[in-house]
């Protein structure tokens, strides 16, 4: 019986990993700007023999998916917050950092892997980003990577929240 369950689980794994993520409904919404980068892209970039820093290339091979959703619409932003909160609970993410700075509110959540700094998923939720634009940003990064490496990525790809991530990094060193 146990064997059967394992077999089914293995058979289903690829199907499930291709299943729609909890945030995919924001993709294609007119009020949302979304950017999705797939594992294939990261693998490909990791194979490039170029003068990019080794740290960056090492990290990139360990990434699965990057999704960034940005909106200025209040209703959609509220929905994003609800979906994110529900997901944080159901997926068992732990809060890593919360920064309330002026009107900006940044939360970073992670799903820990084998060791403390090893991360399977990083979720960042920012409200009031970009000053006057008052954007809400939801960023999800999956893979199996080290927290200390992520700042290389946020810098390279000009992602939001890089400053906050660096704060996470420094006290641990």
């Amino acid at each position: 019986m146990k064997k059967l369950i394992i077999v089914i689980a293995i058979a289903l794994a690829p199907v499930l990993s291709f299943a729609q993520g909890p945030f995919d409904k924001f993709d294609g919404n007119d009020e949302v700007t979304s950017v999705v980068v797939t594992k294939k892209m990261f693998q490909m970039m990791g194979n490039v023999k170029h003068q990019e820093s080794q740290e960056f290339l090492n990290l990139i091979k360990k990434l699965n998916n990057l999704r960034v959703f940005t909106t200025q619409n209040k209703a959609v932003a509220a929905d994003m917050r609800n979906v994110a909160n529900a997901y944080i609970k159901s997926a068992g993410l732990e809060e890593l950092l919360r920064v309330n700075d002026k009107n900006q509110n940044v939360r970073i959540m992670v799903k820990s892997g084998a060791t403390e700094t090893r991360v399977k998923e990083l979720l960042m939720f920012i409200e009031g980003a970009n000053g006057k634009a008052q954007e809400t940003v939801l960023l999800s990064l999956t893979g199996d990577f080290d927290l200390n490496e992520v700042s290389a990525l946020t810098e390279k790809m000009n992602l939001p929240g890089g400053k906050e991530l660096n704060k996470v990094k420094s006290p641990k060193k």
């Binding site: 993709d27 294609g28 919404n29 007119d30 009020e31 949302v32 700007t33 979304s34 950017v35 999705v36 980068v37 797939t38 294939k40 892209m41 693998q43 490909m44 970039m45 194979n47 490039v48 023999k49 170029h50």
Partner: protein, 177 residues
């Protein structure tokens, strides 16, 4: 028995020809007056090969050609436009087109897909879609093209002195904004 075999064969042939591909779509639409089609071979870049590094040379060699197909959205072709765009979207959903990344925003979206595997990219497909202007599909075909080649190809482009007049049909599409 014979009937079953011939049925199977017929089915196989049928399913092969039925398989929609972006290549077939290009072939179909090249003559269509609603579309602008443009084929570019490496020679349009007009690169002085003597001045290239070995890496750039290899990148240039791996690049076979580029096909561009664009449809402009206008007041009179809204229905036809919708249909064509939906068709392209359906074709690109086929598993052989593996997604690298996509972007969606208020004004439209874009996606980058490829055919092949990470170390031998047969075909790159860029699909760009603007809600006001129209859509364009760009295919870059290669032979033994690797990700490194693509990075190096950017350097080749910087050194090229291609004649921008060749892109004039495309500029004409974009005019009247």
């Amino acid at each position: 028995m014979k009937a079953i075999v011939s049925c199977l064969v017929a089915l196989m042939v049928f399913s092969c020809t039925k398989e929609p591909s972006i290549q077939k779509y290009f072939v179909q639409k090249t003559e269509d007056p609603n579309f602008v089609a443009l084929d570019l071979s490496p020679s349009f870049l007009n690169v002085n090969e003597a001045g290239l590094s070995a890496d750039s040379k290899k990148a240039l060699e791996s690049f076979e050609k580029m096909n561009i197909l664009a449809m402009r959205l206008s007041e009179d072709n809204k229905e036809a436009y919708k249909k064509e765009r939906a068709e392209v979207n359906t074709i690109l959903k086929n598993e052989q087109y593996q997604e690298l990344m996509h972007f969606n925003g208020k004004g439209g979206g874009a996606s980058i897909k490829f055919v092949g595997d990470e170390n031998n990219i047969e075909e790159f497909i860029l699909f760009a879609d603007s809600k006001d202007l129209g859509f364009a599909v760009i295919r870059v075909l290669g032979e033994n093209m690797t990700p490194t080649d693509i990075m190096n190809f950017v350097d080749v482009l910087k050194q090229s002195n291609f004649d921008s007049d060749q892109l004039k049909p495309l500029q004409d599409v974009m005019k009247g904004i």
